[in-house]
Symmetry: C2
Subunit: 143 residues, 2 copies
C-alpha cells in the first residue's frame, strides 16, 4: 500500500510517517518504479505500535527502547516493565503539578469579580506581586 493509505489506517498524516522513517522508528520500505513508498502489513503493525505509544505520550526515545526489545523477542522484557513504571511516574508527577497550578489559578481568578479598568484589576495586580517559588526541576518530559 502507498503512504496515504497507511497513514489513513494508522490515523496519522503522511508527513508524520515520513518523519518516523527519517527518525529511524519505521524501516525504509520498498519503492515502486515511480519511487513511491510501498508498505506491507508489518509496516502497518509497527506504525500502529508507534502511534499507540505516542497516544500514551511516550517520547521517541522511549519508543525506540521498546522497539529494540521487540526486535529481540528472545531477550527479557525487564526494560519494558521498568520503562512503563517510570513513564507512569512521569504522568503522576505532571498531574500533581497541574493540580497545584489549578489551585493557584483559581485563587488568582477570584481577585477580579467583574470587568473594570485594567489598572484596578486584581488579576493583573496578583500577577505583578506573586512570589513564584523557584520552579523545581522537571521529573517528566510531559510539558
Amino acid at each position: 500500500m502507498k503512504i496515504g493509505e497507511l497513514g489513513q489506517i494508522a490515523q496519522c498524516t503522511v508527513e508524520t510517517v515520513r518523519y518516523y522513517e527519517k527518525e529511524g522508528l519505521l524501516p525504509q520500505p520498498e519503492r515502486t518504479s515511480g519511487n513511491f513508498r510501498s508498505y506491507g502489513p508489518q509496516h502497518l503493525e509497527r506504525l500502529r505500535f508507534i502511534r499507540n505509544c505516542r497516544a500514551l505520550d511516550m517520547t521517541h526515545g522511549e519508543i525506540r527502547t521498546l522497539l529494540e526489545v521487540m526486535d529481540a523477542p528472545a531477550a527479557g522484557c525487564g526494560r519494558v516493565n521498568a520503562l512503563l513504571d517510570e513513564h507512569i511516574g512521569h504522568v503522576d508527577a505532571r498531574i500533581a503539578e497541574l493540580m497545584q497550578l489549578k489551585l493557584q489559578l483559581g485563587e488568582l481568578r477570584h481577585q477580579c469579580k467583574a470587568e473594570q479598568p485594567a489598572a484596578a484589576c486584581g488579576i493583573l495586580q496578583g500577577l505583578v506581586s506573586m512570589e513564584s517559588e523557584a520552579r523545581q526541576e522537571r521529573h517528566t518530559h510531559l510539558g
Copy 2:
C-alpha cells in the same frame, strides 16, 4: 542594574532575559557606554510579571495579551478575565487527559507481571493491539 543581577532577582538566566527582549516581551533597555544592558525597576517588575505568568504555564501569546492590557490601564480588563478562564480550562482539560492516560497505562502495566521473553510480554502485545481512538484535537497548549 546589569542583566546578571536582573536575572538573579527574577529567578531566570541572562539568556532567558535576552530571549524575552528579542521576543518583544521585555522592552529594550538603555545601554551603558560599554554596550551593556542597563535595567531599571520597571524592567524588573515586567520581568517578574512574565516569570509569574510562565510559572502558571501561560504561553508567550497569552502573556503578550496580558501585557497589552496592562499597558492600557484605562481600558477594561475583560480580556484578562476571559484569558484566565480559558487558561484554567486548558489546565482542566490536560488533567482529564492525563488521568485517562494513567488509567490506560495502569491497565497495560498489569499485562506483564514479571520479566519474561519479550515475545511473551503482555505489555508489548498490548501496545501492538491497542486501538487508540483517534486522538481528539488539543484544546490545550499544555504538554
